[in-house]
Structure formats: structure tokens, C-alpha cells
Subunit: 362 residues, 3 copies
């Protein structure tokens, strides 16, 4: 048996504080840019089926019960008690929480209390920059406050995260933008911006990345659905040896290319959670692919969960099940020794994350 007694979820979000109807719940199962197509439902996805497989028993229902019955039971318990049962049933012992998404979501401390676990904050660079812009009067003060704010945030957080590489049509350029370029972009953005306005300017996004790289804190990069070899290869080469680790998030369906980069560059790590949450019954097959090319010390479990504690449960349960099945098969075939398999399981479940993020609290 391959055991993972502790589990560090290295990238997730808080859960919604409000009671959820069927439609709102369903919307959090989709990954799309719109509602489900006419005649279809996001419950008919691997994620939907995995939620129906693993969550009803934690609330006292049969696996695979209909969504409406599950939601009724959830409301009967109340959002707080349902969340408590779900998060405590997930087996996650430490949450690293990206606090950069909007919505009425629990903060890290609240997630820790509800889940009887530890929690630490991951700071989203874009949100930080928007907050700095809200309180800076001039381009000069904005740029000065920005650098100060990133370095200040580094003291209280375990990592930064950014979506700067998400533009799927082109690779992230390897070099930092020049000072004049940054000033120009900041001037244009601030001039056209209202309080709360989003940061999407590519020059400022890259500038932020490089400030974060200078902070030394691990930097989590959302990779979207693009091939990270193409999107991040040049940036990874440019940041090699600077002392800051890069963690590639959400590699699927290019998870093999993400694992490849983690093998090539000492400072690049690959995340594997959401690939499992989204592929459900296929989680073991996808995990096995990620384990092909990445050195085992470079892989990090996460759930990527957002909004629904059901997604933390599914992420953690699919991971433990898949890991046990994949490594157990290799041991049974004689390809791996049992001792190696147990050691690698502990590394991916928690030990790698503890080392990369400097966690000492357990």
C-alpha cells in the first residue's frame, strides 16, 4: 500500500460562503467561457461525475446520487457544516491559497479553521498591482510603490502567482521590459483606468514578473491550455540560475511538456492537481503521464479548487487514489521497489512542497 499521510495543496482558492442552488453549483464545475450548451450540463463531465462519486458519502448519501438530491442535502446541513465535513474529509493538511480571485471566498485562515489544517497565502501579482494603482497618484509613485509592495508581500506569503503568460498566441518574452517601456505602459494604463480596473497590459505584467523573480519567493505561473514549452521555454531559460523557482500550473493537456521543462531546468517545477480534477476517472492515466518525464522531486500536488469544497475533496481523493494505483502497479510489476514508491509518494504529496515553499509548520 502506498500511503500519503499528509497532503499539501500547493495551489487552491477559498470556498464560497453562501448557500448554492443547482445552477450556481453547476457553473463551478465548468471551465468554459459561457454556460453549458443547450441540451447539456456541466454535471455530465468527468469533474461532475467525480463530485457525485466522492462527495455524497461525506454528507451521508450514496455515491452517484442525483445532483438535485445532493444539493438538497447540502442546503439541509448548511454551507458551513457541509464545508466542514467536506474539507475535513479531503485529507489535506496544508492549503496554499491564491487569494487573487474575486467573489465571496473564504480567506486562508478561515479555510484552515474549517478544514482543521494549516493555510498560507499565495499573492496574485495582478491584484497587488491593481491595489497599488488605486492608491498611487503618479507614474513615479506607482512604480515605486509597486516594487515596495511586492517585496512587502513577499514577507507574509509563501509564493506569488501570475497569469502573465496566458496569452496563448505568443510566447512570454525572455527579457524584462526596459525602464522607458515600463514607464510608458504605466502612464497609459493609469491614465485610462478607473478605481478597481484590471491589469492586462503585457509590458506591466512582465515588469511585475521580474520584480517577483527578484524577490526570491517561488513564482507560480498559470499556463492555460497552451504548450508551456512554447509559452515559457525562453522565460525559463532567462530566469535559470537567478535563485527563484518557477512552478507551472495547469499544464493539461500539455502536462507532458510541463513535465519536460521541469526535467530540463533546475528551477522549474510542475503542478499536477487540476489535470486530475478535470479528468476524473482518467486521473490515474494522466498522473502516469506526468510521472514519465519530470524528476520526482519536481512534482507538486494541488487541487486547484475554487469556490466549492467539493473540488478540494475531488482533487485530493483522485490524487491519492491515482498515486496509489499507478505506483502500486509499478511495484507489482517489479519496475519500482516498494520503498522507492513510498518515498516518491511522500515527496509529491507534501515533501517537495515543504522544501520549495519553506513550510515548517507541521
Amino acid at each position: 500500500m502506498i500511503e500519503t499521510p499528509s497532503l499539501v495543496d500547493q495551489h487552491c482558492h477559498g470556498v464560497l460562503r453562501t448557500e448554492l442552488g443547482l445552477g450556481t453549483f453547476e457553473a463551478h464545475l465548468g471551465r468554459g467561457e459561457g454556460p453549458p450548451a443547450p441540451g447539456t450540463t456541466f454535471f455530465d463531465t468527468q469533474t461532475g461525475f467525480a463530485v457525485r462519486r466522492w462527495c455524497p458519502p461525506l454528507l451521508g448519501l450514496e455515491p452517484h446520487c442525483p445532483p438535485a438530491r445532493y444539493l438538497a442535502r447540502r442546503r439541509e446541513l448548511g454551507v458551513l457544516e457541509a464545508g466542514r465535513r467536506l474539507l475535513r474529509g479531503s485529507g489535506i493538511t496544508t492549503y496554499l491559497v491564491d487569494t487573487g480571485l474575486p467573489g465571496d471566498l473564504t480567506r486562508p485562515g478561515e479555510l484552515a479553521t474549517t478544514g482543521a489544517a494549516q493555510a498560507h497565502e499565495i499573492v496574485r501579482l495582478e491584484l497587488l498591482a491593481e491595489q497599488v494603482a488605486d492608491t498611487s497618484g503618479t507614474v513615479d509613485s506607482f512604480l515605486a510603490n509597486l516594487a515596495e509592495s511586492v517585496h512587502g508581500a513577499a514577507a507574509g506569503a509563501v509564493a506569488f502567482t501570475s497569469v502573465a503568460g496566458l496569452r496563448e498566441d505568443r510566447p512570454l518574452p525572455p527579457e524584462p521590459p526596459g525602464p522607458g517601456e515600463v514607464r510608458g505602459a504605466a502612464g497609459r494604463w493609469l491614465a485610462g483606468r478607473q478605481v478597481g480596473g484590471e491589469l492586462a497590459d503585457p509590458v506591466l505584467l512582465r515588469h511585475l514578473l521580474w520584480i517577483a523573480v527578484a524577490s526570491g519567493l517561488p513564482l507560480q505561473l498559470h499556463t492555460g491550455a497552451a504548450d508551456p514549452q512554447r509559452s515559457f521555454g525562453a522565460f525559463a531559460r532567462a530566469t535559470a540560475g537567478l535563485g527563484t523557482d518557477l512552478v507551472l500550473l495547469h499544464g493539461y493537456p500539455h502536462h507532458r511538456a510541463a513535465a519536460h521543462l521541469a526535467g530540463v531546468f533546475p528551477h522549474v517545477y510542475a503542478d499536477l492537481g487540476p489535470a486530475l480534477v478535470r479528468t476524473g476517472a482518467r486521473a490515474a492515466a494522466v498522473l502516469a503521464e506526468i510521472l514519465e518525464l519530470a524528476p520526482f522531486g519536481k512534482l507538486l500536488f494541488s487541487s486547484g479548487a475554487h469556490g466549492l469544497p467539493e473540488l478540494h475533496v475531488v482533487g485530493a481523493t483522485l490524487f491519492r487514489e491515482a498515486l496509489g494505483r499507478v505506483l502500486g502497479t509499478w511495484v507489482a510489476e517489479g519496475a519500482w521497489s516498494l520503498a522507492d514508491a513510498q518515498r516518491v509518494a511522500a515527496m509529491i504529496a507534501a515533501d517537495n512542497a515543504r522544501r520549495v515553499y519553506g513550510l515548517t509548520d507541521e
Copy 2:
């Protein structure tokens, strides 16, 4: 047991009306830009092995019999009787037939009669434009007739299809070409064209796509071997919400990226047939990958068969076998309920296609 009592082949072509020798038959097993390499044969492919596995029994021979013996038996029965036995043995109940390929191929009505099934036409936009060009004297009349012709064809067909996105070196631009650009391209094409000349001008191909999008009929897009996320991502975003569905054909080996797009955009669907025909003994593994990310209401069975009724047989048989094996395994593991598995099987085999193409004939 996972059953699929009816099967809508959402993209195929007619079968050849003439008796076939070994060489002509073999040529239809290849996917290439030339003959087999010296010392090799297209029978030594997954498709060749699958044909030898599934078709000989339908003609009274042993599975895996040598190609020459199979061809001899086929000629003994005659092309009509062999076609009857094969198509009726495929289990396909409705054929959606792309009539845009050259050659002495059966038309939809003939395929329906031979196969004791229903059939409907898919109109290839390029062929339509070439026919309009053959009978239009001026650029003005060509452009007017083109729009009229597409809208006229929409009345009698269940879908349009196009190869406009097949240029693997660059993404399909998201916006329609401007009127002046279209007029210029039409003028150059018509001036240089002889009757029957092929349409390959990228501006006119895009113009055609947008006329088709305006028709509201589902639009099947050949994706070739390029990553559809790269080729079609921007076009999918540009056509979201317009009320016309896009069906991505032939995603393999980028079928996971096609499934991803089907998950992101409500109006995008993914085809899965040819990926199975080409991968033979691996069909269950490939199907399982397609089932990772696509919502189950967004997947459509097809054979992609062209020329040989053997390919309709192999497409349908591999699909049923693979679907039964993959979903059956998930039920056995407890990951899916049996009721869900049966419902999803019926959706992919026929129900999704009936809804998307508005089929009411069964």
C-alpha cells in the same frame, strides 16, 4: 453491458462503385502524400490490421486472413453485395455524408439503401464555391450567387464542411475578411481559373466560412494534424454566441486539445471517429483520452470513412468496442454508475448528433 443500439455516423463519405484490386484497396488505407515507402505496405498499419480483424467475418472468412484472400472474396461477391454486407454489418443507422470529395462514390441516398439506414447530406463549401464559379460570369455575380447558393444549400443539408483551417503554419484569423479584400480575391481567382479549378484562396475560404456561419447550420471544420487550440482558438472565440455550432473534425493527435475547446466554448463540438479508425488496437486508449476533458454532451461519433465500406465497419466497430470497454471499466471501478455510463454511451453514439443536426427521422 454498455449498449449503443443506434449509431449516427456524423461525418463520412460514399463508397467506391467499382471493383477494387489489391493496390487500389491498399491506397485507401494510407493517409499519406504518396505511396507506401519501398519495402512497406499500408496493410501494416493499425487501420490495415483492424480491417483484417473485423471485415473478413462479414464476408464469411476468418479474421486476420491475408489481404489477397480477402480481396479475392470481395470480388467473388461483387462490389455491390460486399458493400451491402459490410455496411449492414456496421450497425450504423444514420449516415451524414460529406459529398465534397471527387471520385466515383455513392451518393447519400444510395448509401442509405445499401446500408438499410438513413442518410443526409453535408455540403462542402469549397465545392459549392467552385460550382458557383463555373456558372458565374463576373465578380459581382459570383459573390451574389455564392451567398445565395450557400443559403440555398442550407435548406437541403444537415451541415456544412470546410477545409479552410487546414493550413498548418498559421491560425485561422478570427475576423471575416473585408468586402474589398473579398472582391479582390474573387477577381484574381476567377481571372486565373479554368472550369473545375480548385478554390484554395485563403481570403475566399474565410469569406465562405462566414457566410456559412450566418446560415445557422452546424459547420464541420477539418483540423488536420495541427493543434486546434492554436488553429481554431481565435475563430472559436469570434463565433461564440452567434448561434452556429462548430464541429472540429479529425483532432488526432491533438484530440485532447479539441476536447479542451469543446469544454471551453458552448458552440464547439468534437468529433472522434477517425482517431479510432487510424489507431485500431489503441482505439479504447484514444477514446479514453477524448473523454477526459470534453463534456459528454459535446462528443460526436463518426467513422470519417471514405471509399471503402470496410472503413465504415471499422469505425463503427472500434467505436462500440472501445466505448463498451472504457465505460465498462469505469463502472467496474465504481468511478461511474452504470446508468450514467449507458446514458453517456447513447449520447455520444447518436443523441448528441440528433440534437446538434436536428435529426428527427428515427
Copy 3:
């Protein structure tokens, strides 16, 4: 049982002649641009685990013994005797040896003697050009000597190899560079060059490729981690029908796209060794993917081994194991006949390579 009595390793390198410590040995297990990350080791990879699974028994130790014990036993035997036991235990009967890497590596004849096998040379075009540059005084003499040298090398080698397509950011252009362009590039390179200086100029690299294409000898192309459909698609189309075969090396994680190209173009072949060495316990799964799309006459075994005879062992053993398991399963399922499976196994293990490289020595 699927047997592969002889095994042609169609792309490997020599082995190090010196005794190795733990660090040097470990460095040869990585694929990276640097040392292992702090807190990690290249022994904790699929390659590391596969070496520990398959090599200790050849030196009289238990599978999975600790690296330090294995290295101690290796030094106890001495590098010559350890190399003899390992290479002779690999089952490889013919080595095609790329002699273009630096380091104190055994030459083909020495590898043959140590391994009790045949060996032939593969000439690396870049190294040849650098040697010509070392002895040519002018651009004119360099260009004349270059052509002569490539054609001379063709007489004594079984293939050429090149890394000209490795620049991941852009496809290899389809056309040869013009004479003026080549002269200009040669002039600049020679003027700035010291004896022994590396050739990295893209124009000269392409010029070299086209001289090699004209020689008629098979040309092995390193594909790196880029999608070979994108990198080499246009070059493959441009060289179709010229009579020279292209062999795509190292396709993983884009091995399916490499297999696709091998299916489309009669003169394109796909290599499969390193994908297995790097993926270890997953070798059967990766091999099965390569067998999806490539015609079985277009696949070539290799180990890709460099420096450590352990990598020749692992390459050959994983290949034989994976092939037996994958084809054996298909026979057991009835998808393939046993006779076909045995024939395909012999083709991929040795017969395809014998035909492509004109090997007659066994």
C-alpha cells in the same frame, strides 16, 4: 511470446572510458541544462529507477540496490569489465554510432568489440563542417571542401545526423539557402571563428542538410522537444521524392506527431528509443502511443544511449519488454494475429533498420 532475437540500435553514442564517481554517473541520467535542483537527484527519475531495476543483476547485485552500492560494484569490476557485462547483456546485435559528441567516448569499433556486436558510424554534419573549417583557408575552399567532405563521409558511414532543426522557436525552412546567402554566412562564420569553434549559423546548418540530402544517405534529424509537425513538416514536404530518407529522432513528448509524419511522407521514419529510456516504467504505454499512427515499416528502435553502457541496457531491455507486453496484449485481445505481431516486432527491432541503412552484415 513475442521475440526479438536481434536488435539494431539505430542511434546511440559511445561509452565513457574512465571510472565514474556517483556525481558523474548521476549527471548522465539527467537531460537538463544544469545540475539537479537542490534537494533532488537525477536518480529519482524514471531513467534512474530503470537503471537500478535492470543493471545491478548484470553485475551480480539485487535489482533496486542503492546507487552507491551499484557504483562501488562497478568500480570493483573496473570500467572495461563492467562495460563488457552490460553491453553484452543488452541483447543489441548492431550499433549505429553517432560519433559527433565530445568526451572520451569509445569509437564504433571499440563498442563492437566490447559488446560482441556489429557497429557502424553515423556522421554528425556539424562536426564534419567544423573539421573542414579548421583546415580551409578561404570561403571558396571551405565550401568546396565541405561538399567533398560530406560526399566522402557518405562512403564510410550508414547515415548523417544533424541538430539543425533544434531551434524550437521556428520551423526549419523548406528551401535550401541561396548561394550568395551561403557564401555570406560562411564568410562571417570563418572570420569570427577560432580553431575548434562550433557551427551554429542557421544558414550554414541548412546548407549542410541539403548537401546531405543530395548524398542519398539517410539523414537523422534531432527534433528536441518541439512538435516535429511544426518544425519539420515543411522540410519533409520539400524533400519528398528526392530519394533520401529522413529519420526523426527523440520525438517525445511529441512522439505521436512524429509518428503522424512517418505515416504521411513515404521518406520519413520515426525513432522510438529515447522515449522509452526516459519514461521507464511507462515505456509500454509510450510505445503503444507510437504504434498508433506510424506504419509499422516506418519505426526504428534505438537507445539514444550516451556515455553510460547502462543506458544501452535500459534502452534495449525496456524496448523488448514493452514491445512484448503491448503486442502480446493485442494478440490476447484478438485485435492482432500472433504471426502479424511477431513479424512487426522483428521489423521494428531490426528489419526496418537493415532495409533503411542497407545493413548486410548479419
